[in-house]
Subunit: 343 residues, 2 copies
């Protein structure tokens, strides 16, 4: 940018106002101990010259860049884009920018991206989930950089967090199905490697099922990437089992959408012949037919709190090491007793 354009510099403002550059800097940064008179002179000069501070120079001298980094698996998942959207809006209130990097669920790429963001000079960073390579932690400590994880609720001295319990609501969903009379329950899950949220949900499902004295055999669990089409594919696979499962626990709403659509296409009535659950409570889950039984995750709230907390950490304030928000099961119309309830 402006490789040859002569910008207005702090020095110009100082000359215009008849004060020192230090004073101009003080006024601009709301430093204490500045007289009203000086402040007015400087502000007038700034206005007259249309001065705009040079962010990079400021960053070099102050060692703060005015931006944080967010590392997310993907923005293709509405639940993450919603979180990022709310995070960015809140950061703006603190006059803080957002640098984004995605890593397609590859923890190695996460670390690489983190490294470049740190090199870029970010003042802090937020990661999704609890699963990370040790190298990530090392980077934060090495650079004494404020950081935060979110979207999970695991207690861990190394990883401060703002999130919610993924296992408990999953457990409740499975219990709900069991209470309805389901005995043949299948699961569609995202790959659990490097994804503690998926792992926790699967664990919740399994724990509830086995606690009820039922089984969750391996062939009743389909692991598949995130996506509507993938949900449909997994559905097809599970419907080939005999006896056919009467209920499907899906690791997230989008997988559930795929399953529901595939069921409709196959002429399988939901919830009469098959119950389906999701996780996330995307807007659409409330409106689709049948409305989806799922878990409401507080994406916006997480975004806001992450902004508040990370900014506080950057300013050196102490904040809670762990904040657990509520993720509530929402019972709707996609779950009902199995066809032959009462057997």
């Amino acid at each position: 940018m402006n490789r040859d354009v002569k910008r207005t510099l702090l020095e110009d403002v100082a000359r215009e106002a008849g004060v020192s550059t230090a004073s101009v800097s003080r006024v601009l940064n709301a430093a204490p101990h500045v007289s009203e008179r000086l402040r007015h002179k400087v502000e007038a000069a700034v206005d007259r010259l249309g001065y705009v501070p040079h962010g990079t120079a400021r960053a070099l001298a102050s060692r703060r860049i005015g931006a944080i980094g967010a590392l997310v698996p993907t923005l293709d998942n509405p639940v993450f884009s919603a979180m990022i959207d709310s995070l960015e809006r809140r950061l703006k209130q603190y006059d803080c920018r957002l640098l984004i990097a995605t890593y397609r669920y590859s923890l190695a790429e996460e670390v690489e991206s983190l490294r470049t963001l740190i090199q870029q000079g970010i003042d802090g960073a937020v990661l999704i989930g609890h699963d990370h390579l040790p190298a990530a932690l090392q980077l934060f400590q090495q650079h004494e950089l404020p950081y935060l994880t979110c979207w999970h609720s695991q207690e861990d001295p190394d990883w401060p967090s703002i999130g919610f319990d993924n296992a408990a609501p999953a457990h409740q969903l499975a219990e709900h199905l069991i209470d309805l009379g389901h005995r043949h329950i299948a699961v569609i899950t995202a790959p659990v490697e490097g994804n503690d949220r998926a792992r926790a949900r699967l664990h919740g499902f399994r724990h509830a099922i086995e606690t009820a004295g039922l089984a969750l055999p391996d062939d009743h669990i389909v692991t598949i990437d995130y996506g509507i089409e993938e949900g449909a594919t997994a559905f097809a696979e599970l419907m080939r089992l005999t006896p056919r499962p009467t209920a499907l626990l899906c690791g997230n709403d989008v997988l559930a959408f795929g399953a529901v659509f595939a069921a409709q296409r196959a002429g399988i009535a939901i919830p009469e012949q098959l119950s389906v659950t999701g996780f996330d409570d995307l807007t659409q889950s409330r409106f689709m037919q049948p409305a989806l039984t799922t878990v409401a995750t507080p994406a916006d709230e997480v975004g806001r709190r992450v902004a508040d907390d990370l900014v506080a950490r950057i300013q050196g304030r102490t904040t809670p090491h762990r904040q657990v928000l509520e993720a509530r099961v929402v019972l709707r119309d996609s779950t009902a007793p199995p066809p032959s309830a009462g057997d």
Copy 2:
């Protein structure tokens, strides 16, 4: 960050390698005219010391920050988050970071955000659509900053663009309905102020309808914010018209989802009693029941090309002023002849 930690500096590397700081810098920046021998010495020293360049200092000295800015109305729209996702991944290949700002469809806020991003030192920026305040253009010119608009195809010497025609496919959708025999067509549109895409689509709808000798009265157009719930609300309003419209043209897929869900809830069969169209072709549109007739917008392709083009501009290469990609109408199952076709 590392407020007191003593980092390894370029100077340390130079000393370790027994060369000058300039030489180290040259090796690190892949400058021409460096001997193999020197390169090896420097690289070895870098490895030994674990040296990582300081991004901010580099930015100040080189006047390039290694990041571009993207200004989007919202990330809550999957079509934008998909574009940003693909943009970010492509930029990574160029070793370029992404700064994001959202402006909730307020052009004034767009300019404000642009100003702070420029102050932040971005090397270039991309905006969505063709509608912007003159102040935005002025900022780009003033700072001699490479920039680009996308998601539209308007010819304009001021605004280089990578996008697609929004009006023509909209026109085709309306024609398709008319060809099917529809005579009472209604429209759900996003607010057109500051949103040339919505305006172009509405224009396409209207032009086709009026060209066919039909009317599109004001009460057949509902303007409403983006969202599933909003689509449902608009649907309810339009269904109160008499005679009831037999077809609904929606400005985007999400509004169409809302309409379809509301119709299902109201017991109105799609497409037998009512035809519905969207615009965007989100993944779900292909899988939902009935599959949605819509327009496939090349979100990923736009993201990739924007990255390629903007990086080229930053490097001083000349690129096409305007790239028009294809946005194709996709006929599916949500459109059919009206109930009383043949009247």
